[in-house]
């Protein structure tokens, strides 16, 4: 399999993975400028956390009317973004979608980092983070929080372990396949239980719908695939990955499919809220805020951006263009964030006693915390792109038997064409 080579200078071997620290020394100014920006973001986040720890809830824009804020929006959002990576990784090993193999390492790295960011959001929101230990000591089986929290933690561990397996090739294809059998159900489980945090509340009419679960699954997959597509284009641009136009077309077809399922489910949910024989006043009046009320600014774009992204990805004449694919992906990544935000805050905007609160906007501390966490995640990916062997060695493509049987063309050929 792997060729025995003399390590280049600057390559440090740690836990059987080659860390190419030498690549950092040769990195250009633009790379370091970007890293500096991220470090500034991280520092601001650190300061904001310090501020949150000393001032407590007073530093937050959250109040009883909005008991959860940006941290929870981001929790749902990042957990969702982590899905795309896993779907792509799993489709390589479970469904034989060989065209995605060159993406597998990046996909798993993104999955792990996104879940880590989601969990950091929870930790930084807690006023006494050490009390999190009670989640392990006395978990309450009827609380959805216990399930989503443990699933996310487990998922992060599995993702990073998977990444290590992909780097080292330990256990071969067989173990990689078995890991998929753990990781894919775990991912579905994580998104389901995250949706439960909202949907399992009879006190909040807007969320109390089982449709939340499939919508969470599709939104998660769509936004995750979209962000993976963008990341793949960026890494290809900097010559870290070699990918084919065919692979991107497969990815964008997958994206378009999931987007339309996502929109369809939203449509039937809306229909059941407003249909005269099923409309319940509490539910209808809350959802109306989305379409014509004070949350229209956040929710109407969800529909507009979603439909636009789908149209962009389905027009035969332009859908193969990288520009179009990136635009559509970006639109949907934004749309899903708006959806998470409006769903979370509108669920609170009219409280169980019918009292209105003006739309939620995060405080400076909350905003900087989110920027800090985002910077940390991007920093990890940026450094990994240089240091870690994210490019899948071409001798792993099709892992032998597929090549021999002649069913699959080696993708490497296409890569040189498109590059």
């Amino acid at each position: 399999m792997a060729l025995v080579t003399t390590p280049r200078p600057g390559v440090k071997r740690f836990i059987s993975v080659d860390f190419d620290l030498g690549a950092l020394r040769t990195a250009g100014t633009r790379y370091w400028a970007f890293v500096t920006i991220l470090l500034v973001g991280l520092t601001l986040g650190g300061l904001a956390w310090g501020n949150a720890m000393t001032q407590g809830g007073a530093a937050m824009a959250m109040r009883d009317a909005y008991p959860w804020g940006l941290w929870f929006t981001n929790y749902m959002y990042y957990v969702g973004l982590a899905a795309g990576g896993l779907v792509v990784y799993a489709s390589v090993h479970l469904f034989g979608a060989e065209q995605f193999r060159p993406l597998s390492r990046l996909a798993v790295l993104l999955a792990g980092v996104f879940v880590m960011m989601a969990l950091l959001g929870i930790i930084t929101d807690m006023e006494r983070p050490w009390r999190a230990v009670w989640m392990l000591l006395t978990p309450n089986p009827t609380s959805p929080f216990v399930y989503t929290g443990s699933a996310a933690t487990l998922y992060m561990i599995v993702a990073f372990f998977d990444l290590w397996l992909l780097f080292t090739g330990k256990g071969g294809e067989k173990l990689a396949f078995r890991m998929t059998l753990i990781a894919l159900p775990l991912a579905i489980y994580m998104h389901t239980t995250t949706a439960f945090v909202l949907s399992m509340n009879k006190s909040r009419e807007l969320w109390n719908s089982a449709m939340m679960v499939p919508i969470f699954l599709t939104s998660a997959t769509a936004s995750g695939v979209a962000v993976l597509l963008i990341a793949a284009y960026i890494l290809q641009h900097f010559g870290i990955l070699k990918l084919t136009a065919k692979m991107f077309r497969s990815l964008s077809t997958l994206l378009a499919t999931v987007i339309i399922i996502d929109l369809f489910m939203l449509f039937v949910e809306i229909l059941s809220i407003f249909w005269p024989t099923s409309a319940k006043p509490g539910h209808t009046m809350r959802f109306s805020e989305f379409l014509t009320g004070r949350y229209a600014f956040a929710f109407v774009p969800v529909l507009v951006l979603g439909v636009t992204a789908f149209i962009l990805l389905s027009r035969r004449s332009t859908r193969h263009l990288p520009r179009v694919q990136i635009t559509a992906s970006a639109l949907y990544v934004i749309a899903v964030f708006m959806k998470r935000y409006s769903l979370m805050s509108m669920g609170f905007a009219i409280n169980p006693l019918g009292q209105y609160a003006p739309p939620y906007a995060p405080s400076l501390t909350e905003g900087l915390l989110a920027i800090g966490i985002l910077s940390l995640g991007m920093l990890i990916v940026t450094v990994s792109a240089k240091v870690l062997p994210l490019a899948v060695p071409e001798d792993e493509y099709g892992h032998g038997e597929a090549l021999e049987s002649g069913r699959l063309e080696p993708i490497a050929d296409g890569a040189t064409e498109s590059g």
């Binding site: 999190a132 006395t138 309450n140 159900p185 009879k202 169980p352």
Partner: protein
């Protein structure tokens, strides 16, 4: 075409290294794992949701020749009770606390609200009160259009409904707390362990009565107005709510709101005593509960 495919797949199976192949069986195994994981995850939840029913049927045989209200008591029992009382109160007695509020009498003067703030050391800067009095239009119980911020009480064209923690028999807040930092004591009072609350605010989200409140700021209470019977320190960053004045009622007193009501709209007492005022009210008057359809089984009744 299809023959070719067959041949190919056979060929690839034959040459597959380390016995690795894609197969339908593997795929089904994968689906099996999915179903298994989800099922495993939901089992404890289902079990604990069923548990109260089991306990209830066990208690059912206890009271002999009992009261007509016994079926309510059977549903009301400790939930997630850790076996020892909450640190800031005496152990529960054998009572089952309940309250009846006469909305016909209530004039919306908010004296119960003020008495409660003083009794329970609610931060004067905290921006919440345990009791919220809703002013509503005549003709319906329209919570969605209720007014909390009314300036003048006693309007003859309106009616008033005080809402506070209902000490539900099936408290969604207790079910929703991820760390069992809140529970229902044997006498029916839902309490919060301030030393354990992780500030996730999930209980605020699960409560259909908006009865729980989070201390976003350090609660400030003037030195001379502090009630020594109620904890005040360490309350910043945790959730609090009405406790049926646990510090008074467990020592033979009544709640501060009941005491403060100028029109006697509130009746507080022991539901397990068939001769108590609340029991008699429930038996002789036609009563209703807020959001009965939610199934929380609140322990505050309204009568009008």
């Amino acid at each position: 075409m299809s023959d070719n495919k067959k041949l190919d797949s056979k060929g690839s199976e034959a040459t597959a290294p380390e016995g690795y192949t894609y197969s339908r069986r593997r795929f089904v195994e994968g689906i099996g794992v999915v179903v298994g994981m989800v099922a495993l995850g939901t089992v404890p939840a289902l079990l604990s949701a069923q548990a109260p029913l089991v306990v209830a049927s066990g208690n059912g045989s206890e009271p002999e020749g009992g009261d007509v209200l016994d079926y309510i008591l059977e549903e009301d029992h400790a939930v997630n009770y850790p076996g020892k009382p909450v640190s800031y109160a005496d152990p529960a007695g054998s009572e089952k606390w309940a309250m009846v509020i006469d909305v016909k009498a209530c004039v919306g003067c908010r004296r119960c609200v003020y008495a409660c703030v003083e009794e329970n050391n609610i931060g004067r800067n905290s921006g919440f009160t345990y009791i919220q009095v809703l002013e509503m239009e005549l003709g319906k119980v329209d919570i969605e259009h209720a007014n909390l911020e009314y300036e003048e009480a006693g309007s003859p064209d309106k009616w008033y409904m005080p809402v506070q923690c209902m000490q539900c028999a099936k408290p969604t807040c207790v079910y929703g707390c991820p760390v069992i930092a809140t529970w229902k004591e044997p006498d029916g009072i839902v309490v919060i362990d301030y030393d354990k609350c992780i500030a996730c605010r999930n209980c605020l989200v699960t409560c259909p009565y908006d009865a729980r409140h989070f201390n976003w700021v350090e609660p400030e209470v003037p030195e001379d107005e502090r009630n020594p019977d109620v904890p005040l320190e360490e309350k910043a960053g945790v959730v609090e709510k009405c406790t049926f004045c646990i510090q008074r009622t467990r020592n033979g007193g009544t709640t501060a709101c009941t005491e403060a009501c100028p029109v006697g709209a509130r009746t507080f007492g022991d539901l397990s005593d068939p001769e108590s005022a609340v029991s008699i009210l429930l038996k002789t008057r036609r009563v209703w509960r807020l959001k009965e359809e939610y199934g929380n089984e609140p322990m505050i009744w309204y009568v009008g």
